[in-house]
Symmetry: D2
Subunit: 404 residues, 4 copies
């Protein structure tokens, strides 16, 4: 492995210290505040307090590359921080590094007009508002983005939006103000030029939050996952990002780094699950022996260590390739980690759950929640099946080139 | 396979028809009533209505063998009904065949005094009240039942109970009135004679429902899983079941049939998940083809069919053995299905979830809920590890006998 | 499970006794005779001696149903005998119940003319000669039998055969005298009417045994697997079986029982591997403990027991269905066991190998040989992939029928 | 990943070119020469010819670090060459980089006396003779090296050796002249000081090659795996390596690099199997489609790519750690790759076999042979179980340190 830059090493140590001092101890407070809240969709006060602390500590917006607004870390360097943040569900938002805001901020920073940046990127970078990304639709297989059917039609100085989106994560939150909506602006255009992206304030008439989608039994408050209908929603034409027909292009640019982030966070939570498992099996006795004295338990620990380390190496390799040869050249590796990391983490967490006995499935540990979260990642941004197929096609192409 | 008795065939057809006509259509009503309820722990009205219908149809208490109170079906016959009921989370209670009431009613029918039967078995059989089984404790590895630490001490004409239980399923319900509590009556007795079981009405002073335990975010209302503290709880000595030191013996007798029931219900839900998957992949298109035209999807369907059929055969074999040679002779087979059925169902349901895309993890199908339910079965009544070890020890013993 | 018939119970006990007394002790003699043989393709004397004994004991040709020549056992009954014979590589031939002779004899008994029966079935039933089945070809995917390209063309009173076959098992043996060859008699006919089957004595001019194919280093002497070329081979027209264009039909009829046999033999060898594993782990110590005291080893034993029992139940169910509703109705079940049994046995044997350490991969146990044998069964008569696809298609069809 | 050194890049290109020009084309010649040989244990002439070419090309003894005799490459650099050589069974010996000679030469270079180096290291480096390593014994679990029971007793100016070894790989070869034998010189010493290593010329009286052990059906001629008895074998005292009681220490030093080599060779053969699979599925049609058009086949290709890349990254990380922090600090990583690489390769090769149909199990491809070879690696130098246990113990220790 290449070495971590000195700056990233320092930041990593700072993030770890911040996690230990502020974030882990806040988890139970957070859960309690959420349970006691009059409105589950308002951010618990502890989060806002922690955000202030993180910002004051300079641990803020670390994700943004190539930009005057962020830390300008390489993907490789940032990946290491991402892993640490991923260890706690509440951490990414504390550091203003949580999805989908990170992706949305990147889109605005890279493709937004000055007015768009001023109006939306600024408050997002300040952590004053939250955003959502409305792409997936209930009625079509959204893993094939050309299926997206929501209409974005020009109407005078406006665009008029009609359609139904779901899994707009974060949109349930009271402080979520803006959606980036993907939709079809020209059904007659060439296949990859039909889609556009447009900024839609959530308080625009015609926007209705229909309901919150659950993940297993979790509502994921205060962020939530919304089903949203858009009924003749009118926004000014200048809300369009980059230009008509550029939606697919923006989506592609948005995905690479996002996947690295997701994977490293997933590795972080898997690592924490392994820690929890080791703690448990040393502390618990059954049939007169510590659980850690059963060699079948030890076998599971060894396998988990192996799987985590392999996934981390692969993800870091993908990050390094993105830095060195670009997202396009790294696309087989990015697809690979998209499949590997969640599958690995599900296995590791499941073993930790099993070692915890019935405690493992309930609210007394982070494990069940983490499992459910990670399970969605085998579907989000395309199911495993789609990525495996891409990997194979790239492989067959390389092998054909070898044969000449 | 031996043939299903004619009576069981008739009952099976009737249960299937009842499910189709009354139960499946009630699932969404049930969910809505629960969501709208002032008190999530009160049974939704639709359940009480369906119970009346089932009772009127003679589909009531079908589980009880060897008793004037039940249907007197063999384990083999009843297993087939259990599978059908297992297809819907709300079905078992509708037919008054839901755990832990079934096990508790068996205990009372087999071991209860006349007074105990009159006071508790009667209303349970009538479906007027519900019960819970308080065995597992947070502080000890309860898979080794000799660890159970709750005290049941004689004090005058009473027993005095002190301890903390959790995963007392059903105890959150407003109509749950009675607990069968397992605890140590004589710590100095021989290892398997230390435990007793005693009837504790939930309104006895000193009994506190501390909280509801969740399962992957689900609270499983209206039944719930309770953590209960017993603080100097006094009940009359005649509440003891069977006699001091008989707790372990009762627990053993309770487990065999319960496991068959759990396994067959699990097979039922797996079968329904496979149906849902088949329906989905025929209805959904991606990249221009029906999902069912992808051979990797078909491979998963084939594998699911194989796994379900194997688990069913094994469970029916165990049931048949219990009928023919008794629980003790069948204990390797019972341990085998205890491991097989949940593992199989988790795989089958997970594939169905994946085929449903993001819809699969939310409340729009029964799949996520079913998965979480089944996941607990790899821990309830002893984790897989304990049962695998028993299977192996029995196997090694048999093989040693072969070697002579 | 239905009960084994009394006659089959008696036969089973007799076969078991014969195995214990004669077959197992002969295995090492057989290996030595083979190693010392001037010609590895001649049957070792011990085999001929055992055949005589088995015939004298009435344990001969037990496989043939519906025939004056065989034992007329049901598939269900015979399956139990097959499992016992499968425990030793040398056993099936001793009882004159080895593939491909069994299938070939069935074909002759069911579809052969009187002359064909007299000339070939008689000596096969007497165990005087052996036969091979020449279907698979090196140049086409033979799992799709319509691909078979060998020509069987009418030429005067003869048929003229041209083509190349491989994996003609048994054809290397000096006492293999006759091949049933499948080939295309009419390429212009309807897809399933193009193939015919014809009897070709191996000493016919133009028949050349090109070479012996190995299986993971084993030459499988004295039977072997031959690659055979047919170069203008002329046989009398009456050698055609059943009629022109009936090849596909014969092949279908031949497969069902054959698969039951293969699966049950596979289960037999897996059962023996589990026995060997149990013996080994009780006898061997490592790091101061018997291997059987490592719970991870015990877990493997439990899993093997589970997998074997499930596969056996499934195979017996398929056999019972064949008896009760016929091969066609049972085709999903037959396809299922075709996939299950070899996969299961490979896992069980592999665990036994691992428990034996380096001894497990060499000639000192039957394990490595058994593994290699079973590995071929994931390919023979169609690879797993083809059968999984059939299972899925049948499943989707049933589910569509359910939806109505 | 750190970058490959320039020198290693050049060497890698040269080895690749040599493989393409000389080694791959020689594989079938080699097989034919072996088949036609009067003595299967004499090296086929093509090997001696290729050795000359490789030496002339400067691609010779590339493995030796820290020595005037070798290429002085880091473990990280050499690992890359090892992968390429591993692609062909015949390659390592061609480059004089084959086990167990590499390990033996390292032992001599590092611990040998000048006389020992002169007498044995010199001809080994020149490729004039071969050597074997006699450690494993049939009667004890040799994965626990303290069990080794062969006696090495001082007798006058000699040591007298008595015992039985097996799996002395290479010892069947006519040009194998010397064995490094491990045995107990002082049973009363402290546990890790009981063993010594001694040089025993194979023509010493009392040394008997008892037989060749097979691997699955392969005899692995001309190297072979020998069972050797040592019956009052006398060698001069100066044949002892390093000193009495140092055997365990030497064994430890020998293992680290050897495992990297084995793993990288294993990755090389897996990579070649994936290539073969890709070639096959593009060339073969079934049911009217190229195999590569079946998405379940593509899924296997993707999974193989993922597994190979993960194993390679892990192995290279272990190599880098050995270079940077030493074998001891890297021992968890070394144990991890010891488990990962063979398991991965077995899966990848098995998929390739399956895709080749029956051709995959026979001598027409390198696949079956490769599979059998790799299967031994889950047992050689300690079975997976032992390494998983070490990994877990190291992990639990680290985690305990974290808890403080």
């Amino acid at each position: 492995m290449q070495a971590l830059s000195e700056r990233a090493q320092t930041l990593k140590a700072e993030v770890e210290a911040f996690m230990a001092e502020h974030v882990y101890p806040a988890e139970s407070v957070y859960a309690q505040q959420l349970e006691d809240a009059a409105n589950r969709w308002a951010p618990p006060p502890i989060i806002e307090a922690l955000k202030k602390k993180a910002r004051a500590a300079g641990l803020w917006n670390l994700f943004l590359p190539d930009s005057e607004h962020g830390a300008n870390l390489s993907n490789f360097d940032y990946a290491h921080l991402c892993e640490i943040m991923g260890r706690s569900t509440i951490a990414p938002v504390v550091f203003n590094c949580s999805a989908p805001d990170t992706g949305n901020m990147e889109v605005l920073a890279r493709y937004g007009s000055d007015a768009q940046k001023d109006r939306w990127l600024k408050p997002l970078l300040a952590g004053e508002i939250k955003s959502c990304f409305s792409m997936t639709e209930p009625d079509v297989a959204s893993s094939d983005a050309t299926n997206i059917a929501t209409e974005i039609r020009r109407g005078g100085d406006d665009y008029v939006i009609n359609g139904r989106k779901w899994w707009s994560s974060g949109a349930m939150a009271t402080n979520c103000k803006i959606a980036i909506v993907m939709g079809k602006s020209d059904p007659s255009a060439e296949r990859h030029k039909q889609q556009s992206m447009i900024l839609v304030p959530l308080d625009t008439p015609g926007v209705t939050i229909e309901r919150a989608l659950h993940v297993f039994g979790y509502d994921h408050a205060p962020k939530g996952h919304a089903e949203i209908s858009f009924d003749n929603v009118r926004v000014p034409a200048e809300n369009l990002i980059l230009g008509e027909g550029r939606g697919f292009e923006i989506a592609q640019g948005r995905l690479g780094p996002g996947r690295i982030h997701h994977c490293m966070r997933t590795i972080g939570i898997a690592e924490r699950a392994l820690e929890a498992m080791c703690d448990r099996v040393e502390a618990r006795e059954s049939f007169g022996r510590k659980l850690s004295e059963f060699d079948s338990i030890r076998k599971q620990i060894a396998t988990s260590r192996i799987e985590i380390d392999q996934a981390r190496l692969m993800t870091l390799k993908a990050a390094q390739m993105m830095d060195e040869v670009g997202n396009k050249e790294a696309r087989q590796e990015i697809a690979m980690i998209k499949v590997i990391a969640p599958e690995m983490a599900l296995r590791v967490i499941d073993r930790a759950i099993q070692a915890h006995g019935a405690m493992g499935v309930c609210q007394d540990t982070f494990l069940a929640d983490a499992w459910a979260n990670v399970r969605t990642l085998r579907l989000a941004d395309g199911p495993d099946e789609v990525h495996l197929d891409s990997i194979a096609k790239l492989e067959l192409r390389k092998q054909a080139a070898r044969r000449g």
